[in-house]
Symmetry: D2
Subunit: 162 residues, 4 copies
């Protein structure tokens, strides 16, 4: 078994820029996060995009779909911004690839105190290893199917549509 991890940006991967005082993208934190995890599971890491998910367009979602298609690994974790994670999940779900694809992200950047990023990454890696072929969103300790998930922005949690 092996795993592909694809970075696309999002809160998970934001860095503080001391000059502007803003949170920006630089090189992904994922190689460091995966190193911490002390994996013996073979992982190939791909830095595909570095976008706030509110800035993600259809063309970006097609890039993500293509990255999943060409992945030689059948089990894929995508680190993604939370705001439009369900939209990207939908694009990937409708593509009906024969792979297990798990989208995750973070409500607090990896670099900031008390971040959920590393927990979510671990959760998503296990889900990608164990879940059946399909597309999922892993947040808040739950695994949602791509066609039954929304982000409740008022409280900052993911929930089922029903």
């Amino acid at each position: 078994m092996s795993l592909r991890i694809i970075a696309t940006g999002g809160t998970f991967d934001k860095h503080y820029d001391p000059l502007s005082g803003n949170l920006i993208f630089r090189e992904s934190v994922l190689p460091e996060a995966l190193d911490r995890a002390r994996l013996t599971l073979p992982v190939s890491f791909e830095s595909l995009l570095a976008l706030d998910s509110l800035d993600m367009q259809d063309s970006h979602r097609q890039q993500i779909r293509e990255a999943c298609e060409r992945s030689v690994e059948d089990r894929i974790v995508i680190v993604h911004g939370t705001d439009t994670m369900p939209e990207t999940a939908q694009v990937l779900g409708q593509a009906a690839l024969k792979k297990t694809i798990v989208l995750t992200g973070a409500m607090v950047p990896y670099q900031i105190a008390r971040s959920d990023a590393l927990f979510n990454l671990g959760f998503a890696c296990a889900a990608a290893n164990l879940a059946a072929v399909g597309v999922y969103v892993a947040m808040n300790g739950l695994l949602f199917s791509w066609d039954d998930v929304m982000k409740n922005r008022d409280v900052g949690v993911f929930q089922s549509l029903r």
Copy 2:
């Protein structure tokens, strides 16, 4: 779906004691770690033991088995020292409870820079949600069956017996 998380001590939960300069047990870090994870998954936490796993005796393993038996949740994560995690897994595996039980821990304490603890906790929570009834060890991004796992102490990783 809901989850029980049982603390038994181990490296995951060690604190630095400024007076002695040693790593010791105090109140568990798990409530803080679970709070970071921003779970909406219902979790009940039980602080059962606070032991270095090299100090764990048969009687302690029976206490852990009893805690799993009486758990009203069918899906259980046990945070445990790494050195004898396979031994405890064996006791629980042979007990053949009708539950999904995942043991995890850490090679570096939660409180220390670049710890694997939060990743492992996330991985174990997903595995406990998704795996079939049985007893497992979740370390290094892999999920091992209780009857096919050992810790290779020379390199500090878990591996299959075969």
Copy 3:
């Protein structure tokens, strides 16, 4: 000897807000930071303002001056945003109080990885203990007089005017 520490906001004290994705003010991190420092030096902490220093008006600077005047401690550290720290230092310097006042802050918030906040706080506390009556800015490991300091925003460091 004793010390007063006055929080006024600034980068040092910014928190990440998971709902908006912005850096905002909540209760000050200074009590936690001072607790970490394991002080036996008597310290009284005052949470006066919680402002981005770009939002600081003359009236706020007068509030800070009044807080310094009424302080029973003769040695004062003010945690302040970096962008207008020299302006506030000037107001306090011209007030010519008979106290040792050291302004400091951070280029990276206390809560974010690799922050300079705790170093600067330690530096400022020592400077407040040791420097003569006067008003100073403590940043980048240097102590500047209030009438000879500017922030070079292009590179994000404080420097002498000469």
Copy 4:
């Protein structure tokens, strides 16, 4: 003005070793800590020893004295274990070098949550910049003269002899 920083080991600089479960010495954390501090103050760093201060012998203290003597910088910070910091301060104080020498350390390693290390380093750097020629111990937010300091091991704080 410029500063020499000399690492000699101690709690400040201890790393967790995942294989043995012990706190050990590896390369010093000081270059990273100084990098965080965003210094423009010129600093030269010297990694002299890597010892628990309980293991420090007279010969090691003579090495430290010689390092201070040959330092081209007149202002020196020594990062040292806390247990025998006063003894080393005494050796340096009696050597009566014409330099400002400040010993500091940490009660909790730099790498462990809620460490005092970075605060103490900032405090010591300011003290080395500002104090008169002499030898000092900087801990707990206080600056002690070398001939008037002891560590109270029962409570883990430094105090005056009087």
